[in-house]
């Protein structure tokens, strides 16, 4: 019961009986050297484990790799990638979320960029066309490769969170972003709002900060600038935020699989969680009005909501135990 409660506490939305499912596709592109192959393999494995820990069903996780070390890995060629996306499209319900993570190298080509695969590379247009077949489903696409910036423009859309490791195709050095993005899910420090889960925005911010810290500490000029776009305007932001042009959607999307009716949440818990969700929404709305309120009034009102939320959380935990 405790785990159920904690899991439910972790969510804004109490799910209906037939809850949405998460699907994860991790594509580990061509490494080129042993070091990169090992690095990409490690990141893939860590992501897979994080997804399993987040409750994503194993059948919903597909791993593509240049040199597959495990039997359930598929080859990462373009044909297999496009076929896999079609399969996800066929399998996933309309309300399901799909995460596509590209780990590897990229380069500029023509007016845009490509992601390097064994055999023919895949361009942003080609990937975009394949993902468009997923319809209105909520998509999270993360391209951790060099020269990945142009992928934002093509993959941006409504109900999509798109991240790239670089701001342009000209940032061709191997970026550090991908490693830190994965680290957000496996190490401490990324959960800024302390809700015991990592949103896509938190993961992006963590990775961006760690990239900067890494460059600063080695006194190098920053040559990679990650982007996040989630408002569908095709323009990524380097500093998205909950209340900025980009970031609001990413702040509410988590890797964690929401609990389903099968987990047996009791009615009192459902009611409390709904109340909790309402309080969180009230806090969110109050924060949006911050600039227009007197400081004292704002913090008094915030405190009242927070106290109520704290009492409710305590009660949920107490009832659960």
């Amino acid at each position: 019961m405790n785990r159920l409660i904690l899991a439910c506490l972790a969510f804004l939305v109490v799910q209906p009986a037939a809850a949405l499912q998460h699907h994860l596709l991790v594509v580990s592109g061509i490494g080129g050297t042993d070091d990169y192959r090992q690095q990409f393999a490690l990141q893939s494995q860590q992501l897979k484990q994080a997804a399993l820990d987040a409750g994503i069903p194993r059948d919903n996780i597909v791993m593509l790799a240049d040199q597959a070390d495990e039997s359930d890995y598929r080859p990462a060629d373009k044909q297999t990638l496009l076929r896999t996306i079609r399969e996800i499209g066929a399998r996933a319900a309309p309300e399901d979320r799909v995460f596509v993570i590209l780990i590897g190298h990229g380069n500029e080509r023509g007016d845009g960029a490509v992601f390097n695969l064994p055999g023919p590379d895949i361009s942003a247009d080609e990937l975009g066309a394949a993902l468009d077949q997923l319809g209105e489903r909520q998509l999270v696409i993360v391209n951790t490769a060099s020269s990945s910036g142009p992928f934002v423009g093509r993959l941006s859309g409504s109900n999509r969170v798109v991240m790239t490791a670089t701001a342009s195709a000209q940032e061709f050095q191997a970026p550090l972003f991908g490693g830190f993005f994965v680290s957000a899910f496996v190490t401490a420090g990324a959960d800024r709002d302390k809700d015991e889960r990592i949103s896509m925005l938190e993961a992006f911010d963590f990775a961006r900060s760690e990239v900067r810290r890494s460059y600063d500490s080695s006194k190098r000029l920053l040559t990679e600038h990650a982007l996040l776009d989630d408002n569908g305007d095709g323009e990524g932001s380097q500093q998205p935020g909950e209340y900025q042009a980009d970031g609001a959607l990413a702040n509410r999307v988590y890797l964690q699989q929401p609990p389903s009716a099968a987990s047996g949440a009791p009615p009192w818990l459902v009611a409390m969680l709904q109340r909790k969700q309402a309080l969180e929404q009230s806090i969110y709305e109050l924060k949006r009005q911050r600039e227009s309120l007197q400081r004292r009034d704002y913090y008094d009102r915030l405190e009242n909501l927070l106290v109520e939320l704290a009492l409710l959380t305590r009660q949920i935990r107490a009832e659960g135990s």
Binding site: L9, G189, A190, D191, R192, D193, K194, D195, E196, D205, F206, S209, E210, E280, I283, K287, Y299, L302, E303, L306, V307, L309, A310, L311, T313, R314
Partner: protein, 842 residues
């Protein structure tokens, strides 16, 4: 018949003209060697024979000018002008110099304009000498129109193209370049002249002035060389007097000035320096007499006051410097240097607005002044700084640093104030302004007006300026000890009305650092003791030279440390009260050296001898182990078998090499022995650090900790050593000790967020909640990724410290970022509960 008469006249004239040229040369030679009397006698005799020979008149007039006989000089120049007419450009120029000497500025300006008019009319038809006169006139007029200086340079160049052998033009060009702060080219120009005639005393003087501009000790050498050729060269005597003044050698300075005045009793420059000497020696009557004499000779001689201002400023008498500069500009509203000196000194006194305005005036009139230009740019950048008043201090910091550093600076400054006020039984005027510059170039400009100065901090009395920790590479300086040092200066300067000798205040300030915290205040290194063994350290009586005119690169650093040892010696032998009494006596003393010796009741030789004995005793073992260094290490690379057991370098070298090779067991005894031979040395390459490294490799934590503790007790500046020490102490459960090491690390580099976190944790173990709170405030100032956690920890610390309202504020900030932050929620509820019950949070 007529032809014969003409021929006869011609024949008579020819031998006379030839004789005059030769005699002119002879007179010139006498002049260059300084035998002005003989030169004048000969010149006047020749004039009597060859009346109104313009060349002769000009030369005689110039000698009369140099020796101060202005009336005679004027007559000679006027006669030359009458004889030559329009072509007498040089005579017009030198006549203008007579007018300038008398303060007849209008008359001088008329002559310059006349000269330039001839240039405009005749353009390319002028001789090299005439062009030189035009260039000089243009230079003088540049005071009202700074663009004319560029023209002056072009015309000098033209003169030199006409006659590359014209040394005077070269020297004048060099002087102009120097006047306009282009010392690099000025130096080149003087050297070019000297390459044609290495014994030209005026060129040597120009070189000396150029070297003085760069604070080079070679200025003295060049000046003395000029005087060896012409011992009566008044400007050289005046320069030498100034050089002595900078060393506070007033008797020597006075001697030089008097020699100058014997040659030219009306030399305004020499009289001005004499006025300075009287002033610095508190001889009010002597000063007023000389001042009156100067103004009698030239009522508009504002340069008297600019010199007084300059020398007062160099002697750290900033208030007086500002007053004198003010008088200069009252006397001459176009005295741009005066405005500059006024502005700079007002800034040093903390009068920022007035200072800026006067610097702007100065720069408008003289846009070539690099110091003023740099300082104005710096003042513009102060818009990015914030001023915070607290506890008698006004701390000025860059906006980017303020949140982090403010508390630390204020805390330490107030600690220092309380400590010094009790120790010196004196309270300086407040607020004391402390400025921190994250860009070292900005600090350099603030302190001397130029980028690139090697200081870390400077105190002007009520104002301290220093590098912020961000200005330097991590580990290269300790901002805490620097601030402590500069605040000690504030006390010393104000107690003595800024009359404390440089070496005294520097030595005492370093000594105060050593007393403030273990490991502060510099420590002995092999270089210092080797300098001692080689006889390069200065006696106490000449220590000022080590700061003002170092004779080898490390002498400044050695002088700081040596001076601090003098105070260690004095306090051990006589007690601190004696030091304080000597300090107080400087205020009214006209001889700092006498005040010192009177206070110690020793003569100079005895003081030097006793201090020497003190040094010998203090470092007896180390001196022995470092002596005969060349002999001991003259052979190629000591080995474990050949290393001499009583020689520090042998033991250290062998131990270091073995450690690098990984032979830890073999290395250890050598490094231990090195430490026994020189236990006082704890630098980055010392036995302490090497042994700590060795023991850590061997997992011998306790021994490593002992080495690091020993090291940092002598040298607190080693950042990594402090962090390692903190880690070892924390592992052993010595949280207070770990905290102490981390605090010491923050005095070196406060920007490492993990150090502040770690320190907060260690302090929390000791329940020092106020300090815990400070560390979490520092974490927040460093913009952590996890701000919610930092706010929560800060709230917790406040709550534990009983500061409920601040705890509430911080917990709301934490929950604002992370509404579901469980621990923060619980703290909020606890605070509410405690508030309702009127209790403290547990």
């Amino acid at each position: 018949m007529r032809s014969l008469l003409l021929l006869a006249l011609l024949l008579c004239a020819m031998p006379l003209s030839a004789a005059t040229d030769a005699q002119i040369e002879r007179i010139e030679a006498l002049r260059l060697s300084g035998d002005y009397r003989a030169a004048l006698e000969l010149g006047r005799a020749e004039l009597a024979a060859a009346a109104d020979e313009p060349g002769l008149l000009q030369l005689v007039g110039e000698i009369e000018l140099e020796t101060g006989d202005l009336d005679a000089a004027e007559l000679s120049f006027r006669r030359a002008i009458e004889t030559t007419g329009d072509a007498a450009l040089r005579s017009r120029l030198t006549l203008s110099q007579v007018h300038l000497q008398r303060g007849e500025t209008r008359a001088a300006e008329d002559l310059w304009r006349q000269i330039r008019e001839v240039y405009r009319a005749r353009g390319g038809g002028l001789s090299a000498q005439e062009l030189q006169a035009v260039a000089d006139a243009t230079r003088y007029l540049g005071k009202s129109d700074p663009q004319l200086f560029k023209q002056a340079v072009r015309i000098f160049d033209e003169a030199l193209r006409r006659d590359p052998g014209n040394l005077e033009a070269g020297i004048a060009l060099g002087e102009l370049l120097l006047e306009k702060y282009n010392n690099e080219e000025a130096l080149q120009t003087f050297r070019q002249v000297l390459s044609r005639d290495e014994r030209d005393p005026r060129a040597l003087l120009g070189l000396a002035r150029s070297q003085h501009f760069d604070y080079s000790s070679e200025a003295v050498t060049s000046t003395l060389k000029a005087l060896s050729i012409n011992p009566n060269l008044v400007p050289a005597r005046v320069l030498l007097a100034r050089l002595f003044l900078e060393l506070e050698q007033y008797a020597d300075a006075r001697r030089e000035v008097e020699l100058a005045l014997q040659v030219n009793p009306r030399s305004l420059e020499a009289l001005a320096v004499l006025a300075v000497i009287h002033r610095l020696q508190h001889d009010r009557q002597g000063f007023e007499t000389v001042e009156a004499r100067v103004l009698e000779l030239n009522p508009g001689y504002a340069e008297l006051y600019t010199l007084l201002a300059e020398m007062a400023g160099q002697n750290r008498l900033y208030r007086e410097a500002a007053e004198f500069a003010g008088q200069a500009v009252l006397l001459d509203p176009q005295m741009w240097q005066g405005y500059g000196l006024l502005g700079m000194n007002q800034l040093r006194l903390g009068r920022m607005q007035a200072g800026r305005e006067n610097l702007q005036r100065s720069f408008a009139g003289d846009p070539y002044n690099v110091w003023i230009g740099n300082t104005l740019r710096l003042l513009d950048s102060l818009d990015d700084y914030v001023e915070i008043d607290q506890g008698g201090f006004r701390v000025v910091m860059h906006n980017d640093e303020n949140a982090l550093l403010e508390e630390y600076i204020h805390d330490l400054a107030q600690q220092a104030y309380r400590f010094f006020a009790a120790r010196y039984r004196y309270q300086p005027q407040q607020p004391i302004r402390v400025e921190l510059y994250p860009d070292h170039a900005d600090f350099s400009v603030r302190s001397v007006g130029l980028a690139g100065v090697g200081l870390l901090g400077v105190a002007f009395g009520p104002v301290v300026a220093m590098d912020s920790p961000a200005a330097r590479e991590r580990g290269s300086f300790n901002w805490g000890s620097t601030l402590w040092h500069e605040l000690a200066h504030v006390f010393h300067l104000q107690m003595t009305d800024n009359r404390v000798p440089r070496w005294f205040s520097e030595g005492l300030a370093v000594y105060e650092e050593r007393l403030a915290r273990p490991g502060w205040g510099g420590d002995v290194d092999p270089g210092f003791l080797l300098a001692y063994l080689e006889g390069r350290l200065l006696p106490v009586s000449l220590l000022n030279n080590g700061f003002v005119r170092p004779s080898y690169p490390e002498q400044v650093i050695h002088s700081y440390f040596q001076a601090s040892l003098v105070f260690e010696f004095i306090e051990e032998r006589w007690g601190f009260d004696t030091i304080r009494e000597i300090l107080v006596s400087f205020r009214d003393s006209d001889s700092p050296q006498t005040a010192l010796l009177d206070g110690l009741q020793l003569d100079s030789d005895a003081l030097d001898a006793e201090f020497d004995a003190y040094l010998q005793k203090k470092y007896a073992v180390a001196l022995l182990s470092l002596s005969d260094r060349d002999k001991a290490n003259g052979r190629v690379g000591p080995t474990p078998d050949t290393a001499l057991p009583d020689k520090y370098f042998d033991q250290l070298k062998v131990g270091t090499r073995l450690l690098e090779q990984g032979d830890l067991e073999l290395a250890e005894p050598f490094l231990i022995r090195a430490q026994q031979l020189f236990p006082e040395y704890a630098g980055a390459d010392s036995s302490y650090w090497l042994l700590a490294t060795l023991y850590l490799k061997q997992q011998r934590q306790a021994e490593a900790e002992a080495q690091l503790a020993g090291m940092t007790a002598i040298n607190a500046e080693h950042y990594e050593a402090q962090l390692q020490l903190a880690r070892l102490r924390a592992e052993r459960g010595d949280h207070a000790g770990a905290a102490a090491a981390l605090e010491a690390a923050i005095f070196i580099y406060p920007y490492d967020i993990d150090v502040h976190r770690n320190l907060a944790e260690q302090l929390a173990r000791g329940e020092r909640w106020q300090r815990v709170a400070r560390e979490w405030r520092a974490v927040l100032a460093l913009n952590p990724v996890d701000r919610a956690e930092a706010h929560y920890r800060l709230a917790e610390a406040y709550a534990r410290a009983g500061n409920r309202s601040s705890a509430r504020e911080q917990i709301l900030y934490a929950l604002e970022i992370a509404p579901n932050y469980y621990q923060a929620q619980e703290l909020l509820l606890a605070l509410r509960g405690a508030a309702a019950a009127g209790t403290e949070v547990q």
